[in-house]
Amino acid sequence: MTPPQRSAELVASGLRVEFTTRAGRVAKALDGADLVVRAGEVVALVGESGSGKTTLARSLVGLTKPAAGEVTWDGKPMNRSARGLKSLRRQVQLVLQDPSGALNPRQTVYESVAEGLRVHKLVARSGKTEDELVAAALSSAGLRPPEGLFLRYPHELSGGQRQRVLIAGALAVQPQLLIADEPVSSLDASIRGEILALLLRLREELGLGVLVVTHDLGLAWNIADRIAVMYLGRVVESGPTEEVLTSPQHPYTQALLSVVPEMERLEPIVLRGEIPDPTRIPRGCRFHPRCPALASGEADEVADACRRTSLPILPSDPDGHRCACHLVASRARADAADEVSA
């Protein structure tokens, strides 16, 4: 066991985010989610649409107010006052989806990147001039020579360049953690690798922690140290990427992995139906209506629990491989019992 080190950690515990639909029902975008992200590691938050991954990312920087649960940064609970949020956002930066909408069309690249510096008044403290800092941020994001881009407007840039400008804007305030929401899904396939390589470089050279929110398992395999799989507002499986993606335990993860195109290792398990309405989360295990293990009879021994007993929130174990599934839990208990008796 490594001795506990004081590295910056962003922890979400039991977050619940609800909103009321127009029909008057309560939709649970997040229903008890736990996550840990540390500086110096890349974590992939994977899920389909409706899983709550974007809501979780936004809650981590305080853009969405949770109904319950808490977010802790560096050991201290999130301070929701204006000053507290501002201080948090200096250290945890969110890079939004859709680079073409996220940049103010009337601001030049220089102004977009300098905005963070001005808001947090970082120029005076650093001993350098503002344009030196902006140039440094643009260079770190791979845009060279940076001065050439100072006066460009967003519509004059390509998709990849806009994404880099967004990342540069986040880097300018020198955060410890970066949260990237679908950083490459709107970009052309052949340039995605460059942006992903940039994120890895930031981890290497600056020691940043990165939380990547994505629906793409291949991306997680490509750059993530750890992965957390979400379904309908909760994390259902989490652990080191290699372990989770080569030997997934949760039936949902198994199914998801099996339908990735050209996944020759696994027999495709195509789930029927779609992710249920977040206003009507199934009782018991939220995945049980679509669970292939339950349907095939494989999970008969715990079928009752699957249908009635809801699972506890997966504890945010930063290093282990955890899974929220009655079947997996009962098998683990059986194994442990065997070991004891053997």
Binding site: E48, S49, G142, R144, S158, G159, G160, Q161, D188, A189, S190, I191, R192, G193, E194, I195, L196, A197, L200, H215, D216, L217, G218, L219, A220, W221, N222, I223, T241, E242, L245, T246, A255, L256, L257, V259, V260, P261, E262, M263, R265, P268, V270, L271, E274, I275
Partner: protein, 335 residues
């Protein structure tokens, strides 16, 4: 009944007239689709694949200049008379458009929208036979027939995409062109939709041309893949081989953009190309891929490479295939 190839595109050139001069979208493309075969067209923005799809039904904009042949069942779509073209449109070949989420009319029910092409082709159809047909179509794409009475906003993304496919099948076409059918969909819904598409081909012998930027999806579904770049074909061959063992550097880059989960070599080694897909108006002399190519050499800048057969049943347009890699720095690229 006919033994001719279902779709044969020969030396197609399409150029748009814009305010800043002609924009060559397609520059000499050959493509064939046989009955019961799925052909994939892979490429990114600006490569001309959507333009290619529109020419199959002569749907390219009026400002476009077209040369070459688009032979549907032996007859050139470009020179057909209007009556013949109308018969081909939807009953011979149909298109599943990109962006299904926005292609459905929000104020009409699903059933009415599927019925539309039926009525256009045969206005005499009775209410009962239309309803039966709609039920059969929805069933075929895996939707509950009761959905015919829903409005588009009541359906999810995956369901809307399936409605688009049902619409494309309404008049029993022989060829279906699917333009980025699964791009905005989750991976599980994508698997369901791909299942529907491959079922179509298996059960009804429909020929399909599928367009996507996702080479892994094409490799999963298609028999053959054609890779396009800057309006030309750069590689063509059996789907699995093009994905797993590409011979053109661009196909290689496109394939590497979709890393295989479980492949240790893909851990922490994201591979991408520098620069951006080219602007069709500003193509460099010689090979249009040279500015971004990791294997570019002096010879590449002299002339646009011609599509030639390499190996068995594979074609590629690159002069550097088989040549030794010189030990040199990669060329300065516009980053």
């Amino acid at each position: 009944m006919s033994t001719a190839t279902l779709l044969a595109i020969r030396d197609l050139h399409v150029s748009y007239a814009t305010g800043e001069g002609p924009l060559p979208a397609v520059r000499g493309v050959d493509l064939t689709v046989e009955r019961g075969q799925i052909v994939g067209v892979a490429g990114e923005s600006g490569c001309g694949k959507s333009t290619l799809a529109s020419t199959v039904l002569r749907l390219q904009p009026p400002s476009a200049t077209v040369s070459g042949e688009v032979l549907f069942d032996g007859h050139d779509v470009m020179t057909m008379r209007w009556g013949e073209l109308r018969a081909v449109r939807w009953a011979g070949a149909s298109i599943v458009f990109q962006g299904a989420l926005h292609s459905l009319n929000p104020v009409h029910r699903i059933g009415a929208q599927i019925a539309e092409p039926l009525l256009v082709h045969d206005p005499s159809l009775g209410r009962r036979s239309i309803d039966e047909r709609i039920e059969a179509l929805l069933d075929q794409v895996g939707l509950d027939p009761a959905r015919a009475r829903s409005y588009p906003h009541q359906l999810s993304g995956g369901q809307k995409q399936r409605v688009m496919i049902a619409m494309a099948l309404a008049c029993d076409p022989e060829l279906v062109v699917a333009d980025e059918p699964t791009t905005a969909l989750d991976v599980m819904v994508q698997a369901q939709v791909l299942g529907v598409l491959s079922g179509l081909v298996r059960e009804r012998g429909v020929g399909m041309m599928m367009i996507s930027h996702d080479l892994s999806v094409l490799a999963e579904l298609c028999d053959r893949i054609t890779v396009m770049y800057a309006g030309r074909v750069v590689e063509e061959g059996p789907a699995g081989k093009v994905f797993s063992a590409p011979i053109h550097p661009y196909s290689g880059a496109l394939s590497a953009a979709f890393p295989r989960v479980g492949d240790p070599a893909a851990r922490f080694s994201p591979a991408g190309l520098p620069g951006d897909p080219p602007d069709p108006r500003n193509l460099s002399a010689g090979c249009s891929f040279a500015p971004r190519c990791p294997r570019a050499a002096e010879i590449c800048l002299r002339a646009e490479p011609v599509l030639t057969t390499h190996l068995d049943d594979r074609m590629a347009a690159c002069v550097r295939i088989g040549q030794p890699d010189p030990l040199r720095e990669p060329t300065e690229v516009a980053g």
